[in-house]
C-alpha cells in the first residue's frame, strides 16, 4: 500500500480563488496524481492539519457509498472541525450517520420522492412563468435578482407554507448565510436579537438564529392550525411512533430554506450563463424538447452548486491505494468529479444531450443524496423548458460576480438581456 503521497503543488481551499471560478487546472492536476493527494489545511505548522483531496469521480463515489467507513457525524461535514457541543447544536440530516440518519430521513423522505414532488409541478410552472414575465418586461437586468433568486425561494416558501410577504426577509437571511461560508461576515454577532454563541449556529451566522426563530413560530402556528403545506407535514410526520424533535425541526427548516434556495439559485444562474455562451444548445432544446431531462443533468453538472462535502474516516482504510488513517478528513470534490474525463467525454463542453445520470451535483450517490434533488430538477427543468417554449434566448451583458467561497459555487449577479 502506498502510504507516502506527495503534497499537492496546489491549493484548492483559498476562497478568493473562486472569485475567478472553480480552479479547474488545479483540480486536473490533483486528479492526475496517483492515489489520493494530501492537502494541507489549517495550522501550517501542524503536518497533520489537512485532508485527503478526493477529486476523481470513481473515488468520490466510493467514499459516498461507504458511510460506515467515511462518516458524516464525526468532526463536521465542512473542512474545519467543530467542537462537540457546537456539532450537537448544529446537527442536521447532513451531519448524521445510520441509524439516526435513516430514521430522520425516512421521517420526511415521502415529501421529496419524485412521485410526490410532481404535485408541485403546476405551482412551479406558474412561478417560472411569473419570473420570466418580469425579466422580459424589464427587458433584462440582473438574472440572479430577477429570476434565479426569486424562483426557488418562491417555490420552497409556497411548498413549506410560508406567506409570500415574508419571502424577501428569508432571502435576506439566506444571503447572510452564504456570506458565512466565506471569510468575512458583515453582521454583528447580536444581529436579529441573537444571543447564541456564533460557533453554535450553522454557518457561524446570527442569520441562522433568525431562521430558527421564524421556523419555530411557523411550526407552532401549523401545530394548532394545520394547512396543506410542508411545514404541517413535517410537524405531523411520524415513523415508528417518533416525531421530529424541536431541534431536529429547526435544523431541517433551516436546511430546507438554505439548501432549497441557495443551491437551486446557483444552478439556475450557471445554467443561464451556459445557455448564453452556447446559444446552439438552447436552439437544440427548442427543436427537441425530449432533451429536457439530460439538459437538466448537464446544467447541474455544469453548475456544481456545492463544491465539496467532507467525511471523516471511522477506521483505517485504503482508497485508490492510499492509506487513510482513522480520524482523518476525507473531502469529496464534486466540482472536480463533474469534470473527470474518465467519466465525461470532453468534460468542458456544455452538451445538453450528454445523459448518463452520473453527475455528482446531488452528491456522489450515497445515503446523503440530496433530499431536494427531485424538487431542484423540477425547478431547473421548468425554467429552461419555458424558455425553450417562449423562444427566449439570453445575451450576457455583464461579468459574472462570484461568491468568494470554496464551498458554494454561488453567483452574486450577472446581467442578461432577453434575445429572440
Amino acid at each position: 500500500m502506498n502510504t507516502v503521497v506527495a503534497q499537492p503543488p496546489v491549493n484548492v481551499t483559498d476562497s478568493h480563488l473562486y472569485l475567478d471560478g472553480i480552479p479547474h487546472d488545479r483540480f486536473a492536476a490533483l486528479r492526475a496524481q496517483p492515489g489520493i493527494a494530501w492537502h494541507p489545511y489549517g495550522d501550517p505548522t501542524d503536518d497533520s492539519a489537512g485532508f485527503w483531496a478526493v477529486t476523481r469521480h470513481a473515488e468520490v463515489k466510493e467514499v459516498s457509498k461507504n458511510p460506515e467507513i467515511y462518516s458524516s457525524a464525526l468532526g463536521h461535514t465542512n473542512l474545519w472541525d467543530l467542537e462537540a457541543d457546537a456539532l450537537e447544536a448544529r446537527r442536521s440530516l447532513i451531519d448524521t450517520d445510520a441509524p439516526d440518519h435513516t430514521r430522520l430521513r425516512r421521517l420526511i423522505s415521502s415529501v421529496f420522492t419524485p412521485k410526490n414532488i410532481r404535485r408541485w409541478g403546476d405551482l412551479t410552472r406558474s412561478v417560472v412563468g411569473d419570473v420570466l414575465d418580469d425579466f422580459e418586461a424589464a427587458d433584462g437586468g440582473d438574472w440572479v435578482d430577477l429570476v434565479a433568486a426569486p424562483l426557488p425561494i418562491r417555490v420552497i416558501l409556497a411548498i413549506l407554507g410560508v406567506p409570500i410577504e415574508d419571502a424577501d426577509y428569508l432571502v435576506e437571511l439566506s444571503n447572510y448565510l452564504v456570506e458565512g461560508t466565506g471569510d468575512e461576515q458583515s453582521l454583528p454577532a447580536d444581529a436579529f436579537g441573537n444571543t447564541t454563541e456564533l460557533r453554535l449556529l450553522p454557518f457561524n451566522s446570527p442569520a441562522s438564529h433568525a431562521m430558527f426563530e421564524y421556523g419555530a413560530r411557523l411550526a407552532d402556528l401549523r401545530r394548532h392550525d394545520p394547512q396543506d403545506d410542508m411545514v404541517t407535514m413535517l410537524v405531523q410526520a411520524e415513523a415508528d411512533g417518533e416525531k421530529l424533535s424541536a431541534s431536529e425541526f429547526r435544523n431541517l427548516f433551516h436546511l430546507l430554506i438554505f439548501a432549497g434556495n441557495e443551491t437551486t439559485r446557483t444552478a439556475l444562474s450557471h445554467g443561464a450563463v451556459a445557455f448564453a455562451e452556447h446559444p446552439d444548445q438552447m436552439q437544440r432544446l427548442r427543436h427537441d424538447r425530449s432533451l429536457l431531462d439530460t439538459a437538466t443533468d448537464e446544467v447541474l453538472r455544469w453548475a456544481t452548486p456545492v463544491l465539496h462535502m467532507r467525511r471523516t474516516a471511522t477506521t483505517d482504510a485504503e482508497l485508490a491505494g492510499t492509506a487513510i488513517g482513522t480520524g482523518q478528513k476525507v473531502v469529496m470534490w464534486y466540482a472536480s468529479a463533474n469534470r473527470d474525463d474518465a467519466v465525461f467525454d470532453d468534460p468542458f463542453a456544455f452538451d445538453i444531450g450528454r445523459g448518463g445520470g452520473n453527475q455528482f451535483s446531488f452528491g456522489g450517490g450515497g445515503p446523503h443524496f440530496c433530499l431536494g434533488a427531485f424538487l431542484a430538477r423540477l425547478e431547473i427543468s421548468s425554467l429552461f423548458d419555458q424558455m425553450a417554449e417562449r423562444g427566449l434566448g439570453l445575451r450576457q451583458t455583464g461579468d459574472v460576480q462570484r461568491c468568494p467561497s470554496n464551498f458554494v459555487h454561488g453567483i452574486l449577479s450577472v446581467d442578461m438581456e432577453p434575445m429572440r
Binding site: 457509498k65 445510520a98 440518519h101 435513516t102 430521513r105 425516512r106 421521517l107 423522505s109 415521502s110 421529496f112 420522492t113 419524485p114 412521485k115 410526490n116 415513523a239 445520470g357 452528491g363 450517490g365 450515497g366 445515503p367 446523503h368 443524496f369 427531485f374
Partner: protein, 68 residues
C-alpha cells in the same frame, strides 16, 4: 436482452429516496406508512436494468436475491 433477475430491498438500509420508484416504477413502490421501498409482484428486472437501479440506490439497499 439479458435474463431477468429478482431484486430485494433491505428495509433496514432504505431511506425512502424514491430513486428506485422513479427508475423502475413497475417494480418498486414506496410504502405510504413506513416510507420504505418494497417490491411490486415478482421484482424481476433484466440484469442490465437491475444493475443500474442497484447502483443508483443512494442507500445501497437493493440487491439481487440469492437463489436457493
Amino acid at each position: 436482452m439479458s435474463d431477468p433477475v429478482k431484486l430485494v430491498v433491505d428495509a433496514e438500509k432504505c431511506i425512502g429516496s424514491g430513486m428506485c420508484e422513479m427508475l423502475e416504477e413497475a417494480t418498486f413502490l414506496i410504502d405510504e406508512d413506513t416510507n420504505i421501498a418494497g417490491v411490486v409482484g415478482e421484482g424481476l428486472l433484466p440484469a442490465d436494468r437491475a444493475a443500474a437501479v442497484i447502483d443508483r440506490c443512494p442507500a445501497s439497499a437493493l440487491s439481487i436475491a440469492v437463489q436457493n
